[in-house]
Amino acid sequence: MTPTPAPTTTPPPVLALDRLTRRYGTLTAVDDVSLRLPAGARHAVIGPNGAGKTTLLNLIAGTDRPDHGTIALDGADITRKPTAKRSRLGIARSFQQPSVIAELSVLDNVVLAGWPHHPQRRGAWRRPSRHRLLKESAGRHLETVGLADLAQRPAATLSHGQRRMLDLAAALAGDPRLLLLDEPAAGLTDGDIGRLLGIIGALPSSVAVVLVEHHVEVVAELATSVTVLAAGKVLVDGPTQEVLAHPEVREAYHGTAPSTGPDDARAEAVPTACPFPTDARG
């Protein structure tokens, strides 16, 4: 498959997927997908329901195993590495259903998420000084996502949007090299989406982001490159503006063929896709 335009310099791509395939029985959820992401990439994966977006994310995160193909992080093959190991290598993810530990406090959720990434994690629970470090960094991440005031509340008391933010804070707690976001904007209010855009926009440029998203608006706002999946296959990929304007994408993704000429479709695609005020990013 055609790789996304990546700088063909010496450092290997942060993430390289080579002909990944995953079948469930007769259904091929991900079919021969390749992808190369440079450091700092902002890449989106879009497609209709059942296109294999989440499966692809699960394959990268390690919750699912490919039948064929390889996954490499920074040039090292991680196809057979378990999820936890991949996380420690720098892959973090958020979940489609925000996943929080309901019985622990908000702060503890983030402390636990940051724990395995602490350079000396074995002693973390015996040494007060290191425990304090973990707590401080967890506190910073909570401030980032705007939950600092709720740090001591049990996570069970959070609303859906707050849980999503906590999930994001947990993903950020490991200081990842590669951040996988599974529909981060689903179920969020406009204000929360604005905050989310701000958080992801403010990530250091060393972090690569893979974003699975239904909202074309969020994609247009965040991603510099896009892969469109349909029935597990790569339909189109390339820079965001081009891909979103692609007639085949409009047909596959919106389910409607451009009724007028392709020029009209191209002209409409991006402007209508961005209803958020640009200042929401701040």
Partner: protein
């Protein structure tokens, strides 16, 4: 040919037995698969049918028909009653159901013995069938052949109803999506009742017809329940044909297996069950499997090495560090008011336990000692069930390892208490490390079944390995344990009790320290959001294995104390009943509460051996009443008594009950608290205290 000839009769017997099990297990599977009820009283429904059939059987066809009608109807009514009893528990998970149905089974068993007597009832089949026919040159009882025909008809009828009728469609729909069913105008409640009544009817009919094969007696319900559980597990819940094949296979193992390979037969059943479950959980969860395959093989060794390295390093640091850094992080914040509130119930309990020898007679003290030993077993179950999220019925296995280790050590002359404790704990930990990989992969009720199989296999080993365990006779007459080197062997009950108390306090304190440290939070996190923990880089499988090993060691200590306090050991001390009691003690205690588990164990021992002492022979009835009452009166267990409304969320579902969790903010103790703590030791006190001389 000769071999085939010799085994023809057991083989045909196996088919009959298998068909009987199929009919019973189909009911169990129906109740679990479509009504979501884990019915541990299913064997009792069979027994109701069997007793009724046997009572009404008079050697005529009329008697058989009357028995069939009456037995089926009685079990059907019992099933409907069960539906009413379980309906309020719909949201509370399978452990609450297990507590309820196990209690009902105990009550039902006791009532059946009241009505029909404790002996096995003779069954008189119609005279035409009470003969034998010639089958390829062998005499074979005609009734069994006739039974095979009847069971096939019954099974075919059930299958037809389920797959070809509107009613069956509703039942299958209820299994898939009750809300959708409700939306189409059927009442899920009615379906629930109908399913359980039908399951009861199946069990009852099987009981009447199967009475000449598995006769009605005191052990019937447990026997039938176990075998049909195995069938359901082997067959899975998806297909009736798989259940059928599993039932016939189990039937053949029980008959043909016994005649072909008598030594292996006791293991075959539960080994097959464990193997199927382990394989299935490996294939069902690719994620878990992927992680586990990396974690299970070299894991224990790697983990141990890592821990040793960690210990070494930390000790070096400790020497170098300034003194204020020596205290672990969690100790630093212990002495707050909240912490004292949290510790208060434990301290009260400790006070009562210390004072006990002065209050009670010798027999009661020794009972209190075994209650403590069982309490440790229950605490180990809490660690697994409440913290690691692995509900277990198999902690009697490491408990047995510890117990037999201590007994054999004492026999070999190693009578020093601390040595016995440490070695028993080590043996149990090694055992837990070996079986751990099979347990930690699965979740939920699958864990219950795997651990049940482990417990039963251990029981079979105990019965077979006579040179080590004394077989069914047990071990007795080994030298008494010394509390410390050089002391005399302890013979006095109060001495023994004090020894047990000291060891138990140390073990519980260690457990609490670990659980309340951030290590406990790791387990809580694993239970609460496993995917999140994995995605954050936590080697979840490793945590669970370590938890399993530690819980095993704790159970081993409990076993060692049990031997010390009882001075004898029999297979019944490590059997299924004890495993069930340990789990139920934990459920009574509130699943995540260590003190709750201790109190639960105390309540159970007090009820079974102490209160029942004044009403001999009715221990099971009283226990059953205790279990049933607890389910309804204390939805969150004993732990729910403290701090009433403070533990927001949770809704009392066993695995998510936050009340007893260490992370919970200090709950304001209500006036209920001290009363609850006193209950097991002092509530029954008046009776024995009257006999005790101060």
């Amino acid at each position: 040919m000769e071999l085939l000839d010799a085994h023809l009769v057991p083989a045909v017997d196996g088919v009959a037995f298998g068909l009987l099990l199929f009919v019973v297990a189909a009911g169990l599977s129906l109740a679990f698969g479509t009504a979501g009820v884990l019915n541990l009283s299913h064997g009792t429904l069979y027994a109701i049918g069997a007793y009724t059939g046997a009572e009404l059987s008079d050697g005529t066809w009329g008697g058989l028909a009357l028995g069939l009608a009456a037995g089926t109807a009685a079990a059907c009514v019992a099933g409907a009653g069960l539906s009413a009893a379980t309906a309020p528990l719909a949201r509370r998970g399978h452990l609450a159901q297990a507590l309820l149905t196990f209690g009902l089974a105990l009550i039902g068993g006791d009532l059946l013995i009241q009505f029909f007597g404790a002996d096995e009832l003779p069954v008189r089949v119609p005279e035409v069938l009470d003969s034998s026919v010639t089958l390829l040159g062998h005499r074979y009882p005609a009734y069994r052949l006739c039974f095979i025909v009847m069971a096939v008809l019954l099974a075919a009828f059930g299958t037809w109803v389920l797959t070809r009728t509107r009613m069956g469609a509703a039942v299958r729909a209820a299994a898939d999506d009750p809300q959708m069913l409700a939306a189409t105008g059927h009442s899920p409640r009615a379906v629930h009742t109908g399913v359980l009544a039908a399951a009861g009817a199946l069990a009852g009919a099987a009981g009447v017809l199967g009475a000449p094969i598995i006769g009605p007696g005191p052990g019937t319900s447990e026997n039938v329940l176990m075998l049909s559980l195995v069938v359901v597990v082997l067959g899975g819940l998806r297909s009736l044909w798989a259940t059928f094949a599993a039932a016939v296979a189990v039937g053949e193992v029980q008959t043909l297996g016994v005649s072909v390979a008598p030594e292996l037969a006791p293991y075959l059943l539960f080994a097959a069950m464990a193997a199927v479950l382990v394989l299935r959980s490996r294939f069902a969860e690719p994620a878990g499997a992927g992680h586990g395959s990396a974690a299970s093989g070299p894991d224990p060794v790697a983990r141990l090495r890592g821990r040793l390295a960690g210990l070494k390093r930390s000790s070096v640091w400790r020497d170098r560090l300034p003194r204020r850094n020596r205290a672990p992080a969690w100790l630093a914040r212990l002495p707050g008011r909240a912490a004292w509130w949290r510790a208060a119930p434990l301290l009260v309990l400790l006070g009562v336990l210390i004072a006990l020898p002065a209050l009670l007679d010798a027999y009661s003290i020794s009972l209190a000692g075994s209650a403590l030993a069982l309490g440790l077993l229950a605490v180990s179950v809490t660690v697994l069930t409440g913290y690691a999220g692995l509900p277990t019925l198999g902690q009697t296995a490491p408990f047995a390892v510890g117990a037999y280790a201590t007994a054999n050590l004492a026999d070999a002359g190693w009578t020093m208490g601390p040595v016995q404790i440490v070695l028993s704990a080590l043996a149990a930990a090694v055992f837990a490390a070996v079986v751990g990989p099979a347990v930690i992969r699965a979740r939920g009720t699958t864990v219950l079944m795997i651990t049940l199989a482990i417990g039963e296999l251990t029981g079979a080993v105990v019965n077979q390995l006579k040179s080590v365990t004394g077989g069914a006779d047990g071990l007795v007459g080994f030298p008494a344990t010394q509390a410390l080197w050089g002391g005399e062997g302890m013979l006095e009950e109060s001495e023994l009790y004090n020894y047990v108390l000291v060891v138990a306090v140390v073990a519980v304190a260690l457990t609490l320290l670990v659980l309340r440290s951030p290590a406990g939070k790791l387990l809580t996190g694993t239970r609460g959001a496993e995917a999140r923990m994995r995605a954050s880089g936590h080697p979840v499988g490793r945590y669970l294995l370590v938890a399993h090993i530690c819980a095993g060691a704790l159970a081993g200590v409990g076993g060692s104390l049990m031997v010390t306090v009882q001075q004898y050991l029999s297979p019944a001390d490590v059997g299924f009943e004890i495993a069930a009691f340990a789990l139920l003690a934990v459920v009574i205690g509130g699943t995540t509460s260590v003190i709750g588990a201790l109190l639960g164990a105390g309540l159970i021992v007090a009820t079974r051996d102490w209160v029942a002492g004044s009403w001999p022979g009715h221990g099971p009835l009283l226990l059953g009443v205790l279990f049933v009452a607890t389910v309804y009166v204390l939805p969150r267990g004993l732990a729910g008594l403290r701090g009433g409304g403070s533990g927001g969320g949770g809704q009392g579902g066993p695995p998510s009950d936050p009340t007893g969790s260490p992370g919970a903010p200090g709950a304001p103790g209500t006036s209920d608290t001290p009363r609850a703590e006193d209950q097991p030791p002092s509530a029954p006190a008046p009776t024995p205290a009257g006999k005790a001389s101060p």
